[in-house]
Subunit: 227 residues, 2 copies
């Protein structure tokens, strides 16, 4: 369902050209659970942003669910970003002026859920990440790891068919991180597709396939036995 062909992302910086992605070929099928690893600056977030339709390649093509993304109109793109794909950003990207509950309700507003239903689904998602007692806090009234968990709750609240998680446990202690991985496993077992960027081998081991990037290219792509 996800197909990158010869994808490059090149930034022009004065006289210098930065190859964030340098020719990536990748096929991911429905209901796969993939970990993406690689050194800092190797292109992981850039690749995730392209897959999530938040950025466009400078070269190559991206086919999502048999449709060429560069040919989608604005409505189709908005639909993909807001309803088909859940995204946990490396920098969380929460709305600062509303509280956790309202932040997590946002994808449910897009999918047309009624107010009472939205409120309960968002509350449950927050309880699932251990933030049942922080629902009325705004992001700046939370710890770093709590903000990260709100970002996770928002990404999975409407059970997206594709979850893209960029370093979802980077600010979490081991126990809390494992709770997040249990939620991901449950989403995966319901038939959804997961791509998780992580720098921790322990976290990567939850996936069934590991892709390693280096300097904007895929260096390794291997199956992992069921954990």
């Amino acid at each position: 369902i996800i197909e990158l062909n010869g994808v490059k992302k090149i930034y022009q910086m004065g006289t210098e050209r930065v190859h964030a992605l340098d020719g990536v070929d990748l096929v991911i099928n429905r209901n796969e659970y993939v970990a993406i690893m690689g050194p800092s600056g190797s292109g992981k977030s850039t690749m995730m942003n392209i897959i999530g339709c938040l950025d466009t390649p400078t070269h190559g093509t991206y086919v999502l669910n048999s449709q060429e993304v560069s040919e989608m109109d604005d409505n189709e793109l908005a639909n993909v970003r807001n309803q088909e794909i859940g995204f946990v950003f490396q920098t969380f990207n929460l709305l600062p002026r509303v509280n956790c509950l309202q932040n997590v309700e946002l994808p449910l507003i897009y999918s047309g859920k009624r107010k009472g239903v939205r409120r309960e689904m968002a509350a449950q998602a927050l309880r699932n990440v251990g933030l049942g007692d922080r629902m009325t806090h705004r992001p700046n009234e939370l710890s770093g790891g709590q903000r990260q968990r709100v970002a996770v709750a928002r990404a999975i609240v409407n059970e997206p068919s594709i979850l893209l998680a960029d370093e979802p446990t980077g600010n979490l202690d081991t126990k809390t991180g494992n709770e997040i991985m249990l939620l991901f496993e449950a989403l995966y077992r319901k038939g959804n597709t997961l791509l998780v960027v992580t720098h921790e081998e322990e976290i990567a081991r939850h996936a069934r396939r590991i892709i390693r990037l280096r300097d904007g290219l895929i260096e390794v792509d291997e199956r992992v036995d069921d954990p």
Copy 2:
């Protein structure tokens, strides 16, 4: 040189009270290397902000270098924050509109270094964290781990006598994270004092003492053998 006595930080949220810190007693001597661990939300960043003179306790006292911090005037506080203490923030807090080099030069401007000297010290600090080829990039033209490393470079560029680092390797792969720990070790061997918040046991093992928080209180405080 750092002494917290009965320190509490309590937030009033409507009818609810959140005890971010619930009575912390802590003594840290000159040239100690301390790791601070604990679950997400246990009070680590709150404690670091108080130690870094960026926040004040609601109860208890904080004595820094034999001086009661609550009795310092604005000039003394500014001096402590900008010259004595280096702080790596959990959310980096880089200036978005200037490039890496200018971000790292900031502490050197406060310590009155001349322009040519500042520029060279900042450039060297960036090379030390592996960003020699990213000096003219602005923060939004960098990866998450690269921004984290700029925050580290800025915190250590003028060799502060106290380094406070809140999750300095949370977004870094193992190899890059180890390079940062080598820089910290060098700073420590020069006689400085280091407090590093981390959720990774591997990183904590570089320290000589581990403090574990839970629910705003110190639960464990133990020496670690030289690694």
